[in-house]
Each structure stands twice: as C-alpha cells, then as structure tokens.
C-alpha cells in the first residue's frame, strides 16, 4: 500500500469518501444533522476517535493475539469514545446534553472499525493516525454540508444565527428524518457523477485531481 500523506488525504476526502463511496458510518450522526453545531461536535468526535484508535491499534498491532483482536479493537475504540464523552460532559455540557446517546454510538461507527482493520493493521502509527483523521474529515465534510442545508431550510438559521428573512416559512420536512435520507442520496449522486466524469476525462489526459472539500448540495 503506498502511503503518501497527500494521496491518503485526497482518497479519504473524495475518491474513497467513507460516506459517499463506502456508505459507512452514517448511522450515528445522521440523526443530529438538523443542527450544524451538534453535527460539528459529533463529526469532530468521530474524526478524533478514528485517528487515535488507528494510531493506538497500529502501535499495538504486533502485540495483539489474533484470538482477541476484535475485542481489543472494540476496547480501544470504546476507550477513546468514553474519553470524548467525559470531555464533552465537562467542557461542553450543553452539547453533551443535546447529543444524548449519540456520543456513545460513535463506538459502533463502522468507519472507525473499518479504518482500524483496513489500514492501521498494516501501517505505521503516524500514517494510520493521518489516515484516520482524514477519513473523519471526509465524513465531516459531507455531514456538515447536509446539516447546513437542513438547519438553513428547517430553522432559517445557521449555527443558531438567523439567516433567512422574517417572512421565511421553515420547511418542517428538513427538521424531520426523511430529508436527511434525500440529502445523502443527492450528495452521493452528485459526487458519483462528478467522479465518473473526471474518470472519463482523466483517461484521456492524466490530470491530477483537485482535492475537493465535499460538494455543496445547496442547489439540491
């Protein structure tokens, strides 16, 4: 596996984005995407948990017996998630109260386990940390984009600041669950089409792809 930091970044953010391409890990966070701040807290949590779990597991990889590999992975992941939960409770009590059980659900986020298994098990600690972090950022980009649309149309605000004019009638559907499914599908559609187009173009001229920080689904 080639482990150039730049390539990992581009891969995790775009070509192999955990949400758009691998369809992983949306369970735990999609429910809070009707609020940008909560989404940010959750996705930063996921990024850090992924990065540190990958780093730790990569450090330990030569010591872990095969029989207990799964349980050690779960233990390490739970450790970091509990740390995040404790920190939130101490320093961001409001966010902790609003997120409720969703912080704990980061443990079952498939991205963390996936990166630990697919990357950290065969790579050096620092590179694994970077891989975990960028995977988390790729995840964050998509979910924050979705949250922006949902909060803007559902409440007329972004991060709690009112943006829409007074006469704006909030779209109740954006607050409720179905909108999240539709928006994920639309972002996915957009990303896959762009990638398919670029692939076709890249075949003709071998251009280096630009790292995009997640497409904005604003028009969707």
């Amino acid at each position: 596996m080639s482990a150039k930091p730049g390539k990992i970044l581009v891969d995790n953010l775009w070509f192999n984005n955990p949400v758009l391409i691998q369809v992983l890990g949306i369970c735990s966070t999609l429910a809070v995407t009707n609020n940008v701040r909560n989404t940010l807290v959750m996705t930063v949590g996921v990024s850090l948990a992924t990065a540190f779990s990958s780093w730790t597991l990569s450090l330990m990889k030569d010591l872990i017996p095969r029989k207990v590999r799964m349980i050690v992975q779960v233990l390490v992941i739970s450790f970091y998630v509990i740390i995040i939960d404790i920190l939130l409770r101490a320093y961001l009590p409001d966010a902790s109260r609003q997120l409720g059980p969703y912080v704990g659900l980061i443990i079952t986020n498939c991205i963390i386990m996936g990166r630990a298994e697919a990357f950290a098990a065969a790579n050096k600690p620092l590179v694994s940390f970077w891989d975990g972090l960028t995977s988390g950022i790729g995840y964050m980009a998509v979910l924050v984009a979705i949250a922006l649309v949902r909060e803007l149309l559902g409440f007329g605000s972004v991060l709690g600041f009112r943006i829409m004019p007074d006469g704006f009638v909030p779209w109740t559907i954006m607050i409720t669950a179905p909108s999240a499914f539709f928006l994920v599908a639309m972002v996915m559609w957009l990303a896959r089409n762009l990638q398919a187009r670029r692939e076709a173009a890249a075949k003709a001229a071998k251009a280096s792809p630009k790292p995009a920080a997640g497409p904005s689904p604003a028009k969707a």
Partner: protein, 200 residues
C-alpha cells in the same frame, strides 16, 4: 437505590417505538447492515429476527448490569464498554445455544448473529434506555418494539428494492443512492403514523 424510574405507558411506548419513532427511520440506527443485507428478502427476514431477539435480551441483561452492578459501584462511566461486552457475550451464547438446539434455525438465523455485534441499533436501544431512565419493564418493551420496528423496516425495504432493481435508475444513483431515496419515502410514511399513538 436512589433512582427514580419514570413509568411510561408501556403500550404507548411499544407502538411508538415500532411506528412513530422507528429506530431506523427516525434515529437512523442500524443503517450499515440495513443497506447491505436488504437486497435479499430471505436474509432480511433472518437478520430482522436476529436483531429483535438480541435487542430484547441484551436490553434486559444490560439493565440488570447497569442498575445492580455499575451504578452501585459508581462505574457508570464504563457503561459503553460494558454494554458492548454484554452484546458480544449475548450474541456468542445465543449462537451456541441455537447451534445445539436447532441446526435448522442455526442455518437461517445463526449466520446473521456475528453481524449484530456491530449493529448500532442494538447499542442505540440500550443507550436510549439508559439515558431515558426506563424501568425494567419499559426497557424490555422499548427494546422489543424497536427490534420489531427494525425488522418491519428491513422487510419492507427488501420488498421495495426487489421491484426497484428491475427498473432503470440513473447511473450515479444505483445501489446506495436509490436505496437512500427509497428509505426517505418510507420514513415519510412512518411519520404518518404519528397521529395514531394516543393511548396514554
């Protein structure tokens, strides 16, 4: 114990957790296995059954562990790890029991059990139970309802996906994309149940 458990109407809770607040449709829990398995009707049935059984049992066991072990010892901060271990243990034991008792059932149910340990719906139901401070009865009723709701959702989706497959779908939406849109419409349908629950 110095806890005050909140008694909810169990019947309302049961139906609300199946329909109006379906753990998959409104809390998005258990999506990963949901999307990959729901291609096939038969596997969906097996997985749904397994989730329902495991969810009910683990909720009961976790409740006892939480309020008779962790809380008296002041170890609530370890609850996430303990819940995960309870889930893994229940899944293992269930696998062994089913294997001994009924090989036929093992074939239809057993293969799905390992998938369940990492299913966020199970942990989700337990965390909801903890944070809402349900009593024992409420916890079991809520978990059973959530499991049944998940089962219902995956069966419905599998049936719809069977039809969608035979129709032309834009290339970029194939697979996960169109499935998401389908789930979105289903979720709207489930919201329609909201008015139904007025038991309390």
């Amino acid at each position: 114990m110095d806890f005050e458990f909140f008694t909810m109407n169990p019947i309302a809770l049961f139906f609300a957790s199946i329909f109006t607040s379906n753990i998959l449709m409104s809390n998005f829990l258990g999506m990963c296995s949901f999307i990959s398995v729901s291609k096939d009707y038969k596997s969906s049935f097996g997985l749904g059954l397994a989730v329902t059984v495991v969810m009910t049992i683990t909720a009961a066991v976790s409740w006892v562990v939480l309020y008779y072990v962790l809380v008296p010892l002041g170890l609530e901060y370890l609850s996430f790890i303990v819940f995960i271990i309870v889930i893994a243990a229940v899944v293992q034991i269930l696998e062994m029991v089913i294997d001994r008792a009924s090989p036929a059932l093992y074939l239809s149910l057993g293969i799905f059990l390992p998938l369940i340990t990492v299913n966020c719906a199970i942990l989700g139901a337990i965390l909801f139970m903890q944070i809402r401070q349900y009593g024992f009865i409420e916890s079991v009723v809520f978990a059973a309802g959530s499991g049944l709701g998940w089962w219902l959702a995956i069966m419905l989706l599998a049936a719809i996906r069977g039809r969608v497959e035979n129709n032309p779908v834009p290339a970029g939406l194939k697979g996960a994309g169109i499935t998401m849109i389908t789930i979105g419409f289903m979720a709207m349908g489930f919201i329609g149940f909201s008015g139904m629950i007025a038991v309390q």
